[in-house]
């Protein structure tokens, strides 16, 4: 998994590529937690995400809850395979997905 972060004022865009699983999700969690303080709006670009397990969903839920006290978190470029996992788990109703 690789993470690229772009900061424009209070808008933080985090682009993730590869697999978000049990072994890699702690790195994503750490990156997001380190950005919350100076972030009003969080965008997660999932264009290059190949796989997400429940460990990754846990991180998304944590970030969603934190950001819901601000301007929120949006996911964009979610592929059909990842979308199916969001549908199965009810995450597609919780998360803002563009």
């Amino acid at each position: 998994m690789n993470i690229k972060t772009a900061v424009e004022g209070a808008v933080v865009t985090v682009s993730v590529s590869g697999r978000i699983d049990t072994t890699t999700s702690p790195a994503l969690e750490q990156e997001l937690k380190g950005r919350f303080d100076n972030c009003e709006e969080l965008i997660l670009d999932f264009a290059e995400v190949e796989y997400i397990s429940s460990a990754g969903l846990r991180v998304l839920l944590m970030a969603h809850k934190t950001m819901s006290r601000k301007k929120g978190m949006t996911l964009k470029n979610v592929g059909p395979e990842i979308m199916e996992i969001f549908d199965v788990t009810g995450f597609s109703d919780i998360l803002a997905i563009e």
Binding site: T23, S53, H64, T89
Partner: protein
Amino acid sequence: MDEKVLEIEALVDNLPTVLGFVDENLEMADCPMKIQMQIDLAVEEIFVNIANYAYRPDVGTAMVRVQLFADPPVVDITFIDHGVPYDPLAKADPDVTLSADERQIGGLGIFMVKKIMDDVRYEYREGHNILTLKKGLEKI
């Protein structure tokens, strides 16, 4: 029927090895990428569960057996450990209609496994937890 077995210490750090072993066998069976991803997801949930709970605080081994059937193309993946008896299927399904604030993440992994696999079976036999995942490999 083609059968391959991996015996490995049940440690989260060994997850990439387990997934590599499973994927290698699925690729030989020309498994579509989407189905492979779904199987990876189930394998991760089950193996990480064993790594986290079966032998704690000690370390033990897990056996992963991949059985490929040709006609129709189906894979059976069986996990065997000799840790504490634990039936992951006995847990009630989480309520996936709750809002984010009410949502508990626990139990979501095994719920996903049940939704994504065609069949999931558990038995405890002669001191072993035996969990089998079944999934058809043809595109629907």
